[in-house]
């Protein structure tokens, strides 16, 4: 139901773009106005979200420690999973962001028992989620970076090299991009996983299906443009350069699939800052990962620490129990006579 709703929403977007840019001839709006506005919303929204997170303080250092702490000199510390310095924490974050290290730990629980007897709770390796996530994210990253060549003239050498190496397989004409395969495989697998794994299906929301369908539609429309209708890339680059240089020319000779593609991308840009996709920025701010485990070594300040909160005092305690303490022969700050 939630998946169907999400799929219908994406299909509706496709129809809007097809009708709008095709039949209704609103090509300028779809080529420049919508993407330009979407990009601004994305930038402002992204920054605002980060600022809103940053405005909330981090009162306590609460890293989740995943290995041996820094302790006695002869006990080797696990510096990447339980960092105690800035550089070590930086390494933990680099591994987290670039290699999805926490996800790589994933296991799957299996409960076996012979009708209530001889139970075995086993934890089997489950790297699929990690693999799909890596395929998808790196595929998407390369595709996105590759698109920069449409916005830059002349194309910088590193981008040209990326484009060349991405199509190094030299299959089909135009040559198939490896990143397209990674992206589509990753997306399909992540989506399939949401349908097949009953637990994940149970927790999935429109918020989860919609971006998957949307990005899938973006990728498929891109594939359609490149490999099936074989659109004129130079006229698309004119539009892209126009967007980048604020030099808007009426798009000419561009297939309607381009407008569908760019409209879906615009939707993604607008949706991004208000959705779970903000994990892209949020992962850097997570207090259980980006802080060293060092609060026994150096002071950490809580901006809203309230010094007025004091423990129940020893004086009050002794007042409460002075007689029995005296009788038991426990040392007292004030003898019963002094207190009287």
């Amino acid at each position: 139901m939630k998946a169907i709703f999400s799929l219908l929403m994406v299909l509706a977007l496709v129809v809007i773009a097809t009708v709008g840019a095709g039949a209704a001839k609103m090509q300028t709006i779809f080529a420049y106005c919508i993407p330009g506005t979407a990009f601004v919303i994305f930038l402002v929204g992204f920054v605002c979200k980060i600022i809103s997170w940053a405005k909330s303080p981090v009162p306590f250092r609460i890293p989740t420690t995943g290995g041996q702490q820094q302790s006695l000199d002869w006990i080797p510390q696990n510096k990447w999973d339980n960092p105690s310095t800035g550089p070590q924490t930086f390494m933990r974050m680099v591994l987290e962001v670039l290699t999805f290290r926490s996800l790589f730990r994933n296991t799957k629980v299996v409960l076996k028992h012979d009708d209530g007897k001889n139970p075995i709770v086993a934890y089997v390796s489950a790297k699929w989620l990690w693999l799909f996530a890596i395929l998808f994210h790196y595929g998407f990253l390369i595709v996105a970076v590759r698109h920069l060549r449409l916005f830059l003239q002349p194309v910088p050498a590193p981008l040209a090299f990326l484009d060349w190496s991405d199509s190094v397989l030299q299959i089909l004409t135009p040559a198939i991009y490896i990143s397209d395969l990674l992206l589509l495989t990753g997306l399909t697998m992540l989506l399939a996983r949401r349908f097949i794994d009953a637990k994940v299906r149970y927790i999935s929301l429109v918020n989860d299906y919609f971006p998957l369908f949307l990005i899938l539609a973006i990728a498929l429309s891109g594939v359609y443009m490149r490999y099936i209708v074989k659109v004129d890339v130079m006229s698309i680059k004119d539009v892209a350069m126009g967007l980048a240089t604020f030099n808007f020319k009426v798009p000419a000779g561009v297939d309607v699939s381009f407008f569908v593609h760019i409209f879906l991308v615009s939707t993604l840009l607008v949706y991004f800052p208000f959705s779970k996709l903000m994990h892209m920025g949020g992962v850097f701010l997570s207090p259980t990962r980006n802080m060293p485990n060092d609060t026994r070594m150096v002071h950490y300040e809580n901006v809203w620490n309230n010094p007025a909160i004091k423990p129940h005092s020893y004086e009050a305690y002794e007042d409460d129990f002075r007689e029995p303490m005296f009788e038991a022969g426990l040392p007292l700050d004030k003898s019963p006579e002094d207190a009287a």
């Binding site: 939630k2 979200k49 909330s56 303080p57 009162p59 306590f60 250092r61 609460i62 420690t65 995943g66 041996q68 702490q69 006695l72 002869w74 696990n78 926490s102 996800l103 994933n106 296991t107 629980v109 409960l111 028992h113 209530g116 007897k117 709770v121 996530a133 794994d197 009953a198 637990k199 994940v200 149970y202 927790i203 929301l205 208000f274 779970k276 994990h279 949020g282 701010l285 997570s286 207090p287 259980t288 485990n293 609060t295 026994r296 070594m297 150096v298 002071h299 950490y300 809580n302 309230n306 909160i309 423990p311 129940h312 005092s313 020893y314 305690y317 303490m325 038991a328 040392p331 700050d333």
Partner: protein, 544 residues
Amino acid sequence: MAKIIKPDEMLKSINYAPPATDWMDLPNDLSPGRWAYPAKLEKVEYLMHEVPGVFGNPRTWNPADPDWQLPSNWKEIVVNGFRERLDKYRSLKLFMDICVRCGACADKCHYFIGSGDPKNMPVLRAELMRSIYRGEFTLAGKILGKLTGARVMEEDVLKEWFLYFYQCTECRRCSLFCPYGIDTAEVTMMARELLHLVGVNINWILEPVANCTRTGNHLGIQPHAFKDIVEFMVDDIETITGKRLNVPLNEKGHEVLFITPSGDVFADPGIYTFMGYLIMFDAIGLDYTLSTYASEGGNFGLFTHSDMMKAINGKMYSEANRLGAKWILGGECGHMWRVVNQYMDTMNGNLQGPQMQTPVNPITGTVFKNAAQTKMVHIAEFTADLIKHGKLNLDKSRNSDIIATWHDSCNTARAMGMFDEPRYVLNSVVDNFHEMPESTIREQTFCCAGGSGLNTDEIMEIRMRGGLPRGNALKHVVDKHGVNTMACVCAIDRATLIPLADYWAPGVKITGLHELVGNAIILDGEEERTMNLRQEPLPGMEEE
């Protein structure tokens, strides 16, 4: 132990396939056994007086009744409290926004593994709160509602929070596996703070908190009784070793203040661990004192509200100052070390007196640089250092009947990272040590299912369900290696693992680390020992 279903029936009842009904439409099961008893009226009133603004709505109530006697503006209190915490804790705000529901955490929770209840999947536990965040604070949630997983605060939601945020032991195992480090412990802590504001609470947490505030320890042991208990233990040690130890209480002018959870003073088998500490301090001639005012290492305040945690924790530095101690040595406890490692100095560092210094082991000269700021050392670190320097005279053979395994406590594991120190000590005092399977130890360790104030008997079925992963891993090494003892550094473990082992892996004894150390230590001038600290015959002494 309360009567609960047998292990085989429990196993047969576990089904990981979620129900057909959407989780928002599942009714709350508030039958007895599903919740811990609410706090006594006078405990709430006392705490409201001691730490204002944390607790509310004192009354006598029953979760099984339809009417929870909430204040008329309870919804406003909860929603405003939620908003306030979003502004105070970046963690909360971030964790409400960035979860992608990938499901990596879903089967990492011991309560889910033992129950199959979908709301025990950490992701869904957090969604209980996240759904309210969307429904009350985001535009999309307000417009699109349930489709986007949003809903508004209702009485049934509050009841659901009570059920499920008191089925989380704040063990952080899910957080380890989360690609963004989303920490359900943090979410649970916030939810419990909100529940406390409207008087939804449990006695097993608030009574210890009230006791700790007044008497200095969770169990409510008053100073003179505390002294009697210590005397009993000194008597027992004399019976076992032939040596009478001097144990200073509330004395000024000693170098070290020793603080351990009161469970070690009160309950079997914690008392044997306590006797182990005393024997070791005598063996090395440590210049220390105990305190009756700060006679609690644990801090159930952690399970209520940050202000309450701070107020209780502040006693440690206050007492070190009053007694003139240079540093604090801390006993075997789990959540105590979450507080000491991650909160203590931030909350109460300003209470440290000028006499406090970076801890130095007076016997070996080792400087505990990792405790330079808190001035507080874990006894496993301290003992490992002593043994490494050959300062303890140990007779391992006294523990030769023990085939041990090691249970890492959640908090010393995932909120500190103390793994190799206790293992080094354990290996130095026992001959036979076998690890449980890799996915159940060290940073991946499983909770005893009684942490965060849930070690109460009325929810024994929930505890035994949550105990399945630990119990099964234990059973594995019992069958494979003949393990007969599970050692740990946590007072709650020492209480909760006993019924857990009886239920899932019968025949395993639970000990603290320093019980085994105390057994092995040869004191100067002691008589030949014939029994261990439990006064059972030592290996080879059975016939005499």
